[in-house]
């Protein structure tokens, strides 16, 4: 535990601190960028980008070795991966535009075929380097052990650049995500904006390769926006919450991985992010599962209470088990089904309110708020005391007319 705390406070050594800060910036940029991909309902296209980096990594390695250099040069590998991810995205785009195949098929085809070809190249490299570990497997699942200063600095720098770009571009991205036609009239090209979004995705993906690996990087783009969606309906907050939760998950994950042995950085970052998602999914007040369930139960309770009281007032026999339970628990009904004094009073009150509502709704010009009638709200929470008094006067006139 103490190791974890000291890693959280960046006290676990220079390298661990570098990795933690770099990861946090990466997570921040990924969460923010991912939000726009999520809003465009194209979450999985980033998976195609991530998987199609593999042949680029392999080719870059082969070319760098052929030119007599070090095949593991980070910049060379990043350039190669970016180029092949661009090719992959263009192919997805081309297939969707020029054939009748749906986008999901294009995404799946590109990600599996590019990845397959990348694996072919990896076996070539294995033979080329003759038993020496080429270390490219690290890009599949990420590896932060022994990260160099310049590598960490690159990640931090690119993370900061993409965060800055996001800040500059988020307004037009929001407009395009919600109303592409309106965006066009405002002079924002939808196509150009989509390209910018994909450019940011690409940036996050290629720098994420080293930390999280190409199989899991997509998680950093998808999970934080989905998590954020449970907490807000406003898009500016959505971006902020996604970015913060992505950054936090990456930071905590990097610290955990530094503190405990045999905890791979990429996997633990994704899992921390998933925990945040799971908590939001269950407990978020508006959209969370528990909240929705409670709201549903409360609603059900109110319906049964009202139905039951009206039936009591009209002297009808109640058969519904749930209604009986609700009334008995409220003390309105005895165990043998006979109404208590309190029950009869509540029933009378409910019947009176029902009659008041009827008048309010008939004279809905005077009582505009009566349009808010949903069958359940108490009348005194909707109409003012004066209005109710007037309705009661009308009510007694009616009763007088009948008798």
């Amino acid at each position: 535990m103490t190791e974890f705390v000291s890693a959280l406070l960046l006290q676990s050594g220079y390298n661990a601190a570098l990795v933690a800060i770099g990861s946090a910036l990466l997570g921040l940029a990924a969460g923010g960028t991912g939000t726009f991909v999520f809003l465009r309902k194209r979450a999985l296209i980033s998976d195609a980008a991530a998987h199609s980096t593999l042949p680029g990594i392999g080719l870059a390695f082969i070319i760098m070795v052929a030119l007599g250099g070090d095949g593991r040069n980070l910049f060379g590998l990043i350039a190669g991966s970016a180029l092949s991810a661009i090719v992959g995205l263009l192919v997805v785009d081309w297939i969707t535009k020029s054939t009748r195949l749906p986008e999901d098929a294009a995404i799946g085809a590109v990600l599996s075929v590019f990845f397959g070809f990348g694996v072919v190249l990896l076996t070539v490299i294995q033979v080329m380097s003759a038993g020496k570990q080429a270390g490219l497997e690290g890009y599949l699942l990420g590896s932060t052990a022994g990260m160099l200063f310049q590598e960490a600095a690159t990640i931090a720098l690119v993370g900061a650049i993409s965060a800055g770009a996001l800040l500059l571009l988020h307004r037009r991205m929001i407009v395009v995500a919600f109303d592409p036609q309106y965006a066009e009239t405002m002079g924002f090209s939808v196509r150009a904006t989509d390209l910018m979004t994909m450019g940011l995705v690409l940036l996050v993906t290629v720098i994420g390769l080293k930390v999280v690996g190409l199989i899991l990087i997509v998680a950093l783009l998808i999970i934080p926006p989905v998590t954020a969606r449970f907490w807000t309906n406003r898009v500016d907050r959505l971006v902020t919450i996604a970015a913060v939760s992505g950054g936090l998950a990456a930071y905590i994950g990097a610290a955990l991985s530094a503190a405990y042995p045999k905890v791979p950085t990429g996997a633990i970052i994704v899992l921390v992010s998933f925990v945040m998602f799971a908590i939001s999914f269950l407990l978020a007040p508006e959209r969370g599962v528990v909240g929705s369930l409670l709201r549903h139960l409360r609603f059900q309770h109110r319906v049964h209470r009202r139905q039951g009281l009206l039936e009591l007032a009209r002297g009808e026999t109640i058969y519904d088990r749930m209604t009986l339970r609700v009334l008995q628990r409220a003390g309105y009904l005895r165990g043998d089904g006979v109404a208590t004094l309190a029950g009869r009073a509540a029933a009378a009150q409910e019947l009176k309110n029902e009659a008041r509502w009827e008048i309010a709704r008939r004279r809905n010009i005077e009582f505009a708020d009566a349009a808010r009638f949903d069958g359940l709200s108490q009348i005194d929470t909707v109409l003012t005391a004066d209005e109710i008094a007037e309705i009661d006067a009308e009510l007694s006139r009616q009763i007088g007319a009948v008798s």
């Binding site: 998976d47 694996v119 990896l122 998680a219 998808i222 999970i223 989905v226 996997a267 998933f274 999914f281």
Partner: protein
């Protein structure tokens, strides 16, 4: 290449490749038309945590616990994706992305934490499979195909995949017309009494079975490629579902055979004496075929809206 050596070393991997490709490509046709192709992608990612958990519980890497674990994981993943979609009101692509990456990450973490040094179980194996190692040493030539003793020594993957392929073909044949109607018009299918939702779930279950069986032999890349590429290629060839399914079978077999041959012999032809990953090559070939179909397939265009 056609003698005893071929039967011993190349016949079984090739056969396994063909069977696995077919078992994935056939249900792939329906997944494609129902816009569910990425469910194959999701399932093949969650196979990893499934087999790791199965290994931790059973302590062995025998085939059956692995298959059970992987199917269990596939089932859990499908249910969780459905829950996130329905209760969280999240769009399906994003829901899939959340669940399969998290489960895969869980598998990686468990694998690192547990001691698997004594057994052959790692992420690379899960991704690439071990097609090349499926050799049939007791074969003495083509005649061994009719020799029961030699047949029983064949790698067990052949038999398992054969059973799974038979299951896939039987399912599609038996439910052909219902499946067809449910795929193209679910509300109509429901209105004439076809249990379309159940059928859809059965299709996903079948996908999972095919993915798990194929995965054991060929790894997950090829599984994803074969779910999508042959069916997508076939879709660009014809408007007729029967013809499409037949085309997809042809493309699956061609990708498997050609991919295996290229992986084994292409480097040799270029003057190098090694082989490259057969699974990767099969996926590559299936993609190249799809690329050709995207350029020249007779039915590649969307039907233009009639004026």
């Amino acid at each position: 290449m056609i003698g005893q050596e071929f039967v011993q070393l190349s016949l079984t991997p090739m056969l396994v490749g063909i069977l696995a490709s077919l078992a994935c490509a056939l249900p792939g046709n329906f997944l494609l038309l129902r816009r569910q192709t990425l469910i194959g992608d999701a399932i093949s990612h969650v196979v990893l945590p499934g087999i790791v958990v199965a290994f931790l519980i059973s302590g062995s890497i025998a085939a059956w616990p692995m298959m059970l674990g992987a199917s269990g994981a596939a089932l859990v993943a499908v249910l969780m994706i459905e829950a996130v979609k329905r209760f969280g009101r999240i769009e399906s692509g994003a829901a899939m992305g959340v669940i399969f990456t998290s489960m895969f990450a869980g598998g990686v973490l468990l694998l690192e934490q547990s001691d698997t040094s004594s057994v052959h179980l790692d992420v690379q194996h899960a991704l690439y499979g071990n097609l090349e190692s499926l050799i049939w040493l007791s074969a003495e030539g083509w005649g061994s195909l009719f020799d029961l003793a030699a047949l029983s020594e064949m790698p067990p993957q052949v038999g398992r995949l054969f059973v799974v392929l038979a299951l896939v073909v039987a399912f599609i044949a038996v439910f052909w017309s219902s499946l067809k109607i449910a795929t193209f018009d679910e509300s109509f299918a429901l209105s004439i009494g076809i249990p379309a939702r159940l059928l859809g779930f059965a299709l996903v279950a079948l996908t999972a079975i095919a993915a798990v069986a194929a995965f054991d032999a060929v790894g997950s890349i090829i599984v994803i490629a074969m779910f999508i590429c042959p069916a997508a290629t076939a879709r660009l060839m014809t408007d007729d579902l029967v013809v499409q399914v037949l085309w997809s079978a042809v493309f699956a077999v061609v990708s498997a055979v050609l991919g295996y041959m290229l992986a084994g012999y292409l480097p040799g032809l270029l003057g190098y004496d090694y082989a490259v990953s057969a699974a990767g090559m099969m996926a590559t070939v299936s993609g190249l075929i799809l690329g050709v179909a995207c350029l020249f397939g007779p039915k590649r265009k969307r039907i233009a809206p009639t004026a």
